[in-house]
Amino acid sequence: MKVLSKQEVISFQNFSYSYPTKRNVLIDINLKVYKGEVLGIIGPNGAGKSTFCKSLNGLVPHFYGGTVKGNVTVAGMDTLEHTVAELSTKVGIVFQEPENQLSGLALTVEEEVGFGLSMLGFSRELIKERVKEAIEKVGLKGLERRSPFELSGGQQQRLAIATVLAMKPEVMVLDEPVALLDPIGKYEVFSVLKELIKEGSTIIIAEHEIEELAYLTDRILFLKEGKIISLDNSRNVLSEISKLREAGIDPPSITELTYELEKELGIKFDQYPIKLSEAVKLYSEVLKIK
């Protein structure tokens, strides 16, 4: 198991938020995220996952308005006291729809990746260097001169990740990044994420693909109706089968199967598997005993 750093990057303190048109979207959120940690966010529709993500770079409340209680600090910056533009080098967000997050103003992949940096007034030399690095990281090398609109969904989402990586943010936030992608696109995006995790990036990922979260995350935040239901290491949260079901979330299949078998066969497992390899190991042992 990964040993988490003690360096605090994100801190939510008694944070509550209401949109101008919808009240209590997030209620009394308290949590800390540490450098290099990968935090997954799960919850049914309307749980506040996207709002949580948008509160990290100040879109909530600067862009949407609404009322806020408490505060959010990212890399030492209070999001209420800094603009979204100022926070853009600290927090990079990747949204659900790959196409709609393209600037629409860049003609080529490399221009798109450098767009944010040029809006922040970085030097051309630095932009060139960062663009090259980001494109290589997401595996889009060779497509630099291609129009962003000619890319597949998976490639566009990797491009969106590159645009964020180029800004070298301290935290990367992904709001259901594969929800609209086909299986190949999902695979491509998750492969990039795994690489970033290996490099020690701090990542927040809101996701419906709960099975994938088991492989990616260190901890999982389970939200429902704007409140924290659970915040613990991934195994513990994903093993709360009845809580997940109650909220309308499908637990990982192997975890659910183990839970059902435990009930059916009356065997007590020390812990539920959340990854395929763990399930294989566990069932092999059970079958050997039998």
């Binding site: 879109l59 967000i93 709609n100 600037s103 629409g104 003609l107 944010g116 007034g121």
Partner: protein
């Protein structure tokens, strides 16, 4: 994204290494304003056609001839095809008879004033559209945005401009998607022209709502990437006047002097000698 939407955005700017592409966006924008104003000052279809030919020559140099000709074919020619025959007969200020045509035993008179008006106005519109396209199609939008910031234009204006650039392909794309959705729910297409127009009208509400949502998402994406940061933006390419721009401006000054001379000596209709009508401007 549907093919039309994709192509609109993807091909909105044609990347080439030509003199027109190398020219500063300010030069091209000034040319658009300059030639459009002259096209309206003179009421002379031959002179306006010469302006249009001039733009087409620049389009050849800029290797965007196809797109320019297409826009001429879509904007100028249909208006001429409708306007010239109708106005030649029905223009209120018609007085100079050119010829008569016999149709079903009726003698239909064709007049010069309506004929000239029907030719001049589409040509004027053509000059405006093609010169604007010459600017738009050969200027990188990211460069343009950086230039607008450099010119210290109000932030809201720049944001509106950026949204407008994004909105056109979004609208086209959304219209396609919604229309297909309506078709799959039984919208009939084998109907008359009125019903077809109605079919398009019922797209407006879902189209507007969905496009607004998408524009908002794009605005969020732009904002998240520092669009509003109060710093001097970095232009992806060099934005400064080069020798081509100075040469262009010298040409514009010379042409302006010649046209002022023509206007003073020969009037607003130096070649075809039209009378000025109130309605013609």
């Amino acid at each position: 994204m549907s093919s039309i939407g994709t192509s609109l955005l993807r091909r909105s700017v044609i990347i080439k290494e030509t003199l027109i592409h190398k020219a500063d966006p300010r030069t091209k924008f000034f040319f658009f304003l300059w030639i459009s104003i002259w096209a309206y000052i003179f009421y002379d279809y031959v002179l306006t056609a010469i302006f249009l030919i001039g733009i087409i020559i620049l389009a050849i140099i800029g290797k965007i001839l196809k797109r320019i000709l297409l826009s001429v074919a879509v904007t100028v020619l249909p208006w001429m095809a409708f306007g010239v025959p109708i106005l030649s007969v029905l223009f209120p200020w018609n007085s100079t008879l050119m010829y008569k045509i016999e149709i079903f035993g009726w003698q239909i008179p064709f007049y010069y004033e309506g004929f000239a008006w029907g030719l001049t106005w589409p040509l004027r519109i053509g000059v405006c559209i093609t010169s604007a396209l010459l600017f738009y199609l050969t200027t990188n939008p990211a460069n343009l945005i950086a230039l607008l910031f450099k010119l210290k234009l109000p932030f809201r204006f720049i944001y509106a401009f950026a949204a407008a650039v994004q909105l056109i392909p979004l609208l086209v794309d959304e219209a396609g998607t919604i229309y297909q959705a309506q078709l799959s729910r039984g919208l009939r297409t084998d109907v008359g022209i009125i019903k077809r127009i109605w079919n398009f009208l019922i797209l407006i509400i879902p189209l507007t709502l969905s496009s607004l949502t998408k524009v908002q998402i794009r605005a969020i994406a732009l904002e998240s990437r520092g669009f509003s940061a109060p710093v001097i933006k970095t232009c992806p390419y060099d934005i400064r006047f080069k020798s081509i721009d100075y040469a262009f401006f010298i040409g514009i000054i010379m042409a302006t002097l010649i046209m002022i001379y023509i206007y003073i000596v020969y009037g607003f209709s130096p070649i075809v000698h039209l009378k000025q009508y109130l309605i013609s401007g």
